[in-house]
Symmetry: C2
Subunit: 389 residues, 2 copies
């Protein structure tokens, strides 16, 4: 389905993905200095917007996520990435809430990104795509909210890079969201975060089929490099303990070592599988651009080193969630957000969920997380509605 | 310099590296089932063997180490990898001790490995080289000790993979070493350890110039893949805190972001540098083989799941050293070795050194480590000598 906003002039087309889509005609000034306009934002919605337009929740996706939060993802034919959280009778209950999720700009699921086709050349934009930031992503999604004619969001929610977007959204638009839930995230990428992302980028760029980002012109795909990048990232998504408990030194479909370079161990087989399925659904250039946006993210620096100042103008209620075994965005980094909010007397709740599943906990069936998140959202919604009455 | 043992028949030649070298004529049965003979072991020695032959210390090197423990490494023209530990008036004082270090088999500094030239084809052996294990490495080095006509070693010492060799050496040859010092190591590779090594191997094999390991036949070098592998490993050698303190989000020679994929951050520049200098000194196939040996290492499994049994026959005195910020081989894994030794009443000391420098601590100027190691070695040497008198 395609929805076009008024007055747009369609200069770029995305590959054919079955999704809702609008073209943003308002010029968007990017942090890099360039300006984009007439660009597509692909999105999905779940549930119904109520007559008061008071039940909308904007969900932000993570690095390799997309707009298919719940239900079947038409590309992978698997459940949406947050099916444990969003859906009928789920913590974010689509019987009650109107959930919106947009593919970030820089992504590869229909929003403006390096795999967008330039109509004049019929080729992908590739690395002619401008560098984008978390700030740019959020500003683009604000255009979608305006297009949907929603003045107030009940909540903005997201994990990992989605959490960074939550923070940036509230900083940029302090009057829009009543509730903000950043999960398993950070207010700025650490040296180790940057290091792992750079590793992934180098793996992609090392692939001779990358062709400086113009691989589509040559009908090539740097899939081996992208798979290595994914493998590296995957290690960071799981905890050491979780890996040891799940895989340990178990062999894959065999009783003894093969004395070769095949995947003898289950963990090897698992990583190779994760790499191979990823390249079927994700664009290598998008991986470069989105990781770059994450590395550039430093909300404190945007406010001259004072993270609290990012939230000074907002009355948004915050609920920060971290996981004990997340070593990518550990509790200590989530706590910095809480401390910044506390220092200005903001309304902020904070919980560290016990889980062995590492950073991936926010995507998985972690009952205490799902219950905590659901209870908080639903009780807050009730309180806000009661106040209004 | 080349030294050949008696009765050898030289069938293989290594590239021309200035090092001491012997050819092992005794057949060595490998764990993979194959047998090798007439193969070279390259090594270096430091200090003088005393008349009683009681002052010899065998040092085992780590994954990317070599025989150049101290002094200048003729390949890199930099200091030997353990110059903080081994040398005149250093913790392992070469005025007092005779230090031996051999390049492991599988390596690329003159010992039998995938870059060894097969004389009949004049090409590198490449992936025709057999899979080797830590056990094989240690058995090959035992041949060197015999060649040097040393019956008793005062000590066997090594960090990381060197520590694994220490453990395996004592298990295999319980009567040879009086003192064993495994540092920052493990008795078996964890799932996360295997995952990082597999990531490195996949990066190498993803390089189109790898050519299934026969790159030298095509005058190619999978240097980009090897650089990515090195970058991945390097992240695991440093602690999150150490990275943050050293690099944080500091930019490289600039005041503002470039909005591109160049190395804006110092950490990116550092990793790229580490990758680029590594490929000048290390062979991609050796990286595959040695990481495989590490992944296969499981001393407990060799003894039917009872690690203590590996040490039942020895009276060797042990000193186990770990580092607080080492997340590659954390203290918990080193402690398992201590527990196994304690359970059979072995003579074992254990210290966890406070350091922010991560796994790399054993290679760096960490004064408390250097003092602890030196004091232990020297006082033990004194006690053993006094006993003999």
């Amino acid at each position: 389905m395609f929805f076009f906003s008024q007055f747009n002039q369609l200069i770029i087309m995305n590959k054919n993905i079955d999704t809702k889509k609008i073209i943003i005609s308002n010029p968007l000034k990017l942090d890099c200095g360039k300006e984009i306009n007439n660009f597509p934002i692909a999105y999905e919605t779940y549930g119904e917007l109520n007559s008061e337009k008071s039940n909308a929740i904007l969900v932000f996706h993570a690095l390799t996520g997309d707009q298919y939060v719940s239900g079947k993802n038409p590309i992978t034919n698997k459940d949406g990435w947050w099916s444990y959280v969003v859906g009928e009778n789920k913590p974010i209950d689509t019987n009650k809430f109107f959930v919106i999720c947009a593919n970030v700009i820089g992504g590869c699921m229909g929003s403006y990104g390096p795999s967008t086709i330039n109509e004049s050349t019929s080729e992908q934009i590739g690395t002619d795509f401008p560098i984008i930031t978390i700030n740019d992503m959020v500003n683009a999604q604000y255009e979608l909210i305006k297009y949907l004619e929603i003045e107030k969001l009940f909540a903005v929610v997201g994990g990992s890079m989605g959490g960074m977007q939550v923070l940036q959204f509230v900083a940029n638009f302090p009057d829009i969201a009543k509730l903000a839930i950043p999960i398993a995230c950070t207010s700025s990428h650490s040296a180790q975060n940057i290091a792992f992302n750079e590793l992934g980028r180098q793996a992609i760029m090392a692939d001779s089929k990358w062709e400086n980002g113009f691989y589509s012109n040559y009908k090539l795909n740097p899939d081996k490099g992208l798979a290595v990048a994914r493998m590296a990232a995957h290690i960071t998504y799981l905890s050491e303990k979780g890996l040891q408990e799940k895989f340990g030194r178990k062999l894959q479909d065999r009783d003894s070592l093969r004395y070769g370079f095949e995947a003898d161990f289950q963990i090897e087989s698992y990583l190779r599988y994760q790499g191979s399925v990823f390249v079927d659904r994700f664009d290598a250039n998008s991986y470069l651009y989105i990781t770059r946006a994450m590395d550039y993210f430093d909300l404190s620096k945007q406010y001259k080193g004072n993270l609290s100042d990012a939230f000074k103008k907002t009355k948004t209620k915050f609920f920060v969630i971290s996981f004990t075994s997340d070593w990518l965005y550990p509790t200590s980094e989530n706590r910095e957000i809480v401390i910044a909010l506390n220092s200005i007397g903001a309304d902020v709740g904070f919980v560290e969920i016990e889980s062995d599943k590492g950073h991936d906990s926010f995507l998985l069936d972690v009952p205490s997380f799902l219950k905590t998140l659901g209870d908080y959202i639903n009780s807050t919604y009730k309180i806000i509605n009661e106040r209004r009455i």
